[in-house]
């Protein structure tokens, strides 16, 4: 999830290159809907990458908090820049399993997903 569409597309490209199937959303509400729909269809998401800040819409932190009540096994990754949000420095007290500083880097994305999904 990323409110900047181009960023979302490029992140999706990276994930596709890494061999994952990708679904996109540009805000928390959309992400929650997509997550629930995928789970209901029996094809749940392995992991979600959330942009933390979505001006004027639901950001990643709120979405992950809602989703973790719905699915305690949620694998949520927080992604943001240097300046925003306490989550990036203190994610252990949040609904996130890991943080991925932006900009997205192929190797970091690959390592984090590998670690989270194979543990």
């Amino acid at each position: 999830m990323d409110d900047m569409e181009a960023m979302m597309v490029v992140a999706g490209e990276i994930l596709t290159v890494l061999g994952y199937d990708v679904e996109y959303s540009t805000n928390g509400n959309e992400a929650i809907k997509a997550y629930k729909a995928a789970k209901d269809e029996g094809n749940p998401f392995d992991a979600c990458v959330f942009d933390l800040t979505v001006p004027g819409g639901m950001g990643g932190e709120e979405a992950a908090n809602i989703l973790i009540d719905y699915d305690p096994n949620l694998v949520a990754i927080a992604s943001s820049g240097y300046t925003s949000s306490d989550v990036m420095s203190d994610y252990k007290n949040s609904a996130f399993r890991a943080v991925l500083p932006k900009p997205y880097r192929i190797k970091e994305m690959s390592d984090i997903l590998h670690e989270l999904l194979n543990s």
């Binding site: 900047m4 490209e13 300046t83």
Partner: protein, 402 residues
């Protein structure tokens, strides 16, 4: 295609700019939204990561140096149009300092040679003169700006490939010039540069790059880099980033070169506002006119040069809402008119208005014509709030005269 001076803001960008506390800023005043700027830089850096391109900030469009600590975390460096911008780049940004100038003086080249990563010349003659000026000095990497003679730019003022453009060397001019210059001149080059886009999508880049390749491919082997200039509207909603990545990758792989992109507008697009105040309301010639404490010619000259009509937060096209006004500036220029706008409520004297998307090609182009005060510069971020980093006064007007 797509040359749009005012591409629509995404909902999130609009919400971010609307959240700036405009009553707390000086008026007139620019406010740069740092979180928005950072998002743009993150996208540019991610594109760099996926395509292998090196992305530079072109200072000509955005040189608000108090934001450089953020931008420089993401971009490789800067590109300047001459010595002064390059000095600012070296002092406040760091990273690679690239320079292109339509013509250099020998003493400028010598000063630049101390710290520039690369100097790009506009003609073979300038390159030859530059090499002479560099004798006995540190030698930056050297490039030549070429004119691919292909352009999809619709506005002549901004079309560097228009017929008889002085910007960049055509293949024919290059071959003619080389006949009278040292035989090894071209072998001194480290890179080729073209800049042929303005607010365009990746399809225009692809077509231009193909035209460049058709004319100059024989010169590429052995070069270290190609610079695809600026004008890439990368951070505009809907820009085809995948195509951009594909084009860059193709060149990097086919010719084994680095590829530079040097956007300005795309770095600062949708990151800033200009806050102004209504000083007077008058009626003339059947128009309701609002006079602002700002000016198109002084504070947003592209409005008159391009020309275009900047968007205002909460306002619509004339007659879209009940109250239509023509907004005019403080200068004596009869044409100092920003445009016609409509508002849901009547304007009031003292009311503040927010011009959207005013970070790029504004503060770098300002003038103090008529002694109109320059807008202050503030920074805003959700976490740190509003900070005014520069206020201008009488001294700034006086300083440029004697």
């Amino acid at each position: 295609m797509a040359q749009e001076p005012t591409p629509p803001l995404s909902e999130a960008s609009l919400a971010a700019l609307a959240s700036i506390p405009i009553q707390e800023t000086p008026s007139p005043g620019y406010v740069v939204h740092l979180d928005q700027l950072e998002k743009n830089c993150q996208l540019l850096q991610t594109i760099a990561e996926c395509s292998g391109a090196k992305v530079l900030l072109a200072l000509k469009g955005f040189a608000c140096f108090s934001t450089f600590p953020i931008i420089s975390k993401y971009l490789k460096g800067t590109t300047s149009s001459g010595l002064h911008e390059a000095l600012l780049a070296q002092e406040s940004f760091g990273g690679e300092v690239h320079v292109y100038s339509a013509a250099y003086k020998p003493e400028e080249i010598q000063k630049l040679s101390r710290f520039a990563h690369s100097l790009v010349f506009n003609s073979a003659q300038q390159l030859n003169n530059g090499l002479a000026a560099l004798e006995g000095h540190r030698r930056p990497e050297l490039g030549l700006r070429v004119n691919p003679e292909y352009s999809e730019v619709e506005t002549d003022l901004y079309d560097p490939c228009a017929p008889s453009s002085r910007l960049g060397t055509t293949r024919a001019a290059l071959d003619r010039a080389l006949a009278n210059l040292p035989a090894d001149l071209i072998s001194q080059l480290d890179g080729l540069h073209f800049h042929a886009l303005c607010e365009q999508d990746a399809d225009a880049l692809e077509h231009t790059a193909e035209a460049f390749e058709a004319k100059f491919a024989d010169l590429i082997p052995g070069l270290k880099w190609l610079n695809f200039g600026g004008g890439h509207h990368i951070t505009r909603p809907g820009y085809d980033v995948e195509r951009l990545i594909r084009v860059v990758k193709r060149f990097r792989e086919r010719y084994d070169v680095e590829v530079y992109l040097e956007p300005s507008e795309a770095v600062a697009l949708h990151t800033g506002i200009l806050v102004v105040t209504v000083l007077d309301l008058i009626e003339t010639g059947g128009h309701q006119i609002a006079i602002l404490d700002s000016s198109a010619t002084c504070h947003m000259p592209d409005v008159l040069e391009m020309p275009y009509r900047p968007s205002i937060l909460g306002a619509g096209q004339p007659n879209a809402y009940a109250h239509t006004y023509r907004l005019g500036g403080m200068s004596c220029l009869a044409g100092d008119v920003i445009g016609d706008y409509s508002f849901p409520q009547p304007l009031e004297i003292g009311q503040r208005l927010t011009f959207l998307d005013m970070a790029h090609y504004t503060m770098v182009k300002n003038t103090t014509f008529n002694g109109v005060p320059l807008p202050a510069i503030s920074l805003y971020s959700e976490t740190t709030g509003l900070e005014t980093v520069r206020r201008f006064g009488y001294e700034d007007y006086r300083m440029r005269l004697s």
